[in-house]
Symmetry: C2
Subunit: 486 residues, 2 copies
């Protein structure tokens, strides 16, 4: 007797196994459950399979196959995204890049590093800190998220106020286009490439234009030192005015974070309490860095500004341990909401700094009208709000109410001249809200760009943009234009 | 007797006059001569007319007319560009934006300003300096060049080492698309817009994607103070090593400029001599800024690094006047070549900082082989070289020899992992050199992007990209892709 060789009934799965090795393809329903969503858990879908290529050539071969067979597909990093960008809608093949996790090169002379897309964000800083360097973008998920995912989402972090978001730190990329062709964008260490800025276009495109398979990033010399300041306010407006005045004074803090009363209740009830008073209305957590003389004098100026705006208490961290405790308390803030609510939904809006008090009032009104508590944690320095809408999914209709409240918060941001996402992306979550900030024409201009790279819309389909209201017309127009050109 | 009303024989000119007013259209041959080229004077062409719209509506109306009548057109600022981006190739209508020169708004709270495209770069800093703010991008032509032109070229300047190029300072734009439609890109004061980064795409697109009619820029708080250091080296390699070591030490100077022996001969023979010795091989001019304690200690560190690399003499400016004199001497460096050569051609290549000595050797070899003197002035901190090729256009064949030498310098930069332009753009001058750094596929991906915005290639035709080698195939491919999509 001989055992019959196992052979999968789906010919596509067999072909994928041939390309990347049998052990690098998941296809059983039980295995696919983990890939039903990313960090945005309110919507789920079933993938057809998950493949784990080990190098660019395999990514290209897999993409060529899927393109040829007209099978939709999605690139995925660590799955920490918060807007459903890596969530399948049904039937997609997921290309997971977690096996491609090497740090390929570090060039201290030219201050660059080259990584594979599955390389974890925090590991880069860990690898170069002994030489006094670090990688600046620091999303809260940096211990898990990958640099490939960061590029897709143009990830930010608490320190993007001073150091910019991912796009400011990406110098080059190798990209597999949706037909399997491999191109290089940008040039290692060259700040301004001629031609169109395709590297900038790919960065933040939420996986709709190509699969990034290698990334050259800028690394920075670590600052000589830093100092953290903590300030408690009895009035949100006072806290907001202090934020504006700190920036107006010409200080660019490395980070400038704010939490409101409900958020403080959450973080103090969770894993990293530090004894914040529970009856204050706003807390500012501020980090300044640079050379000793510089940040010490900036810290003093910040204390003065807080006093001017009626701060109840303001203190400078007495040592690194205290500062680290304050930051751990803040950085785990989203998850901390679990301590005071069965479920929560995090939103991500941006507003001009000067409109903070007005928009916070609007969010308070939304909370009162819906009866849902809303906590606010935000990167106050660059006006990036994170309203956390607390709800109980067990109560009928509450999830829907929370989603609506989130959408209304975004509308409030858009109406104040802001935007619907600061760093979490649009994904599937905020497609319709794109209409708050873009006209039909502007959305069309963008979907035409997608068509250049991704003409069949096989790569991450139905993400990022709302369904066009006048789809047929647009297509006709494209056809006519091309007809004229050809 | 009554005078017959003057009526132009070209119906297009009459229509343009109707749209913007008769006095705002130039069409006589004598008037068009000034528009035959921009700052790149080696190639010239004849425009059909020049129109001067006074507001966005007029720009849109003019563009709609030209689009309808299939007449090619070019947007033009002050005409200070150095690669022929605003030069007509023959028959284009030039849309000059110099009448749209208002500073529309300044918002100190949110650190933004809104300008019309014809607003002159330096005037922005002049308008806000009383409040302690400035606009960072500072091309050498900043007393004349317009911010609209800066956006088109993604202009840099001596200070882009620390503060970034134009794209890092543009927050939003109003754009007239090549069919006359008006869209807004970016949102005032919002760092990371969702969707594709079309604003980044327009910036540096050299006037091939749309006509920018309003721009929101970031303004910065002026640094507390600054210091300038001047260092003379007997050996170019020593100077280059000093550059690398300054950067490796974690200092980010506001500017880090280098001149070689021939360049020094030129600037000392021209209008702003400051007594640089004529027998040194390299000069570094370095500016540090920030808070007093910070830049003074950085200046000391820089002096130490220069001493380590065998500097002949290094000095810190004793006052602002001395620093200003050193900078005037440097900033007029290109023009200064006129003092030692009848003609000169400026090139603009970029290389990784660490390859400086090697590429300078190659440029020296090109000089020896062609018999043409080449002076080097460059932004050493970010590896942006400006070889100045000295020649005499009266000598038969010398202009062509200079052009070839320039192209070979760019090839040397590209071969060292660099690029063919740092800040001057591609325009008509360097179209063919695009092949040094881009594959056919990469150029095609870019021309497809152009087709999205500019399908008929009426806006600034035949600039930026080389004629495709396999034009017919590409068009066929686009047609097929669109066929699949539609």
């Amino acid at each position: 007797m001989f055992r019959k060789k196992e052979r999968h009934s789906d010919p596509l799965i067999r072909k994928l196994m041939k390309l990347v090795g049998k052990e690098h393809v998941l296809h059983r329903q039980a295995d696919l459950v983990a890939y039903e969503c990313d960090g945005f858990t309110l919507q789920r879908g079933k993938a057809r399979a998950v493949v784990f290529p080990g190098e660019t050539k395999e990514v290209s071969a897999v993409v060529r196959l899927l393109h040829r067979e007209r099978v939709p597909f999605i690139a995925r990093g660590a799955g920490t995204g918060l807007s459903g960008g890596a969530t399948p809608l049904g039937g997609e093949v997921i290309i997971s890049l977690v096996r491609m996790k090497k740090l390929l090169r570090v060039d201290l002379d030219n201050r660059t590093a080259v990584v594979q897309p599955g390389f974890v964000n925090l590991k880069l800083t860990q690898a170069i800190s002994k030489d006094g360097y670090y990688y600046a973008p620091d999303p809260s998920s940096q211990y898990a998220c990958t640099i490939g995912g960061n590029v897709a989402e143009n990830a930010g972090g608490a320190h993007c106020l001073k150091y910019g978001v991912t796009t400011n730190h990406i110098l080059g990329a190798e990209v597999v286009l949706p037909d399997g062709e491999v191109i290089r964008l940008g040039e290692d260490g060259i700040p301004d490439q001629p031609g169109y800025d395709l590297l900038g276009l790919i960065t933040g495109s939420e996986g709709t234009l190509g699969v990034v398979t290698e990334i050259t990033v800028r690394i920075l010399k670590a600052p000589e030192g830093k100092q953290t300041i903590l300030a408690y306010f009895d009035d949100v407006e006072d806290g907001s005015r202090a934020v504006s005045d700190i920036i107006s004074a010409g200080i660019v803090p490395a980070a400038l974070e704010m939490m409101d009363r409900t958020a403080i209740e959450g973080v103090e009830a969770a894993n990293f309490p530090v004894g914040h008073p529970l009856d204050i209305e706003a807390l500012l957590l501020i980090e300044v860095d640079g050379i000793e003389a510089g940040f010490q004098s900036e810290a003093e100026d910040i204390v003065d500004v807080c006093r001017k705006w009626n701060v109840r208490e303001v203190k400078v961290a007495k040592d690194e341990q205290e500062a680290a405790a304050w930051w751990a308390n803040r950085k785990t803030g989203f998850g901390a909401m679990g301590a005071i609510s069965p479920d929560y939904l995090v939103q991500d809006g941006v507003i001009p700094r000067s409109r903070l008090p007005e928009v916070l009032n609007k969010i308070r009104a939304i909370s009162q009208e819906t009866g849902l508590r809303i906590a606010n944690i935000f990167h106050a320095g660059d006006g990036n709000l994170h309203p956390l809408i607390l709800f109980d999914a067990q109560k009928p209709g509450e999830k829907e109410k929370a989603l609506q409240a989130g959408s209304r918060c975004l509308k409030a941001c858009a109406d104040a001249g802001g935007s619907i996402t600061g760093e979490h992306g649009v994904g599937i979550e905020k497609k319709e809200e794109m209409r708050f900030i873009f006209t039909d024409e502007e959305i069309e201009a963008q979907t035409r760009i997608r068509s250049v790279f991704n003409p069949d819309n096989l790569l991450n389909p139905d993400k990022l943009f709302p369904q066009p209201g006048r789809c047929a017309e647009v297509k006709q127009e494209i056809k006519e234009q091309q007809g004229l050109k050809v």
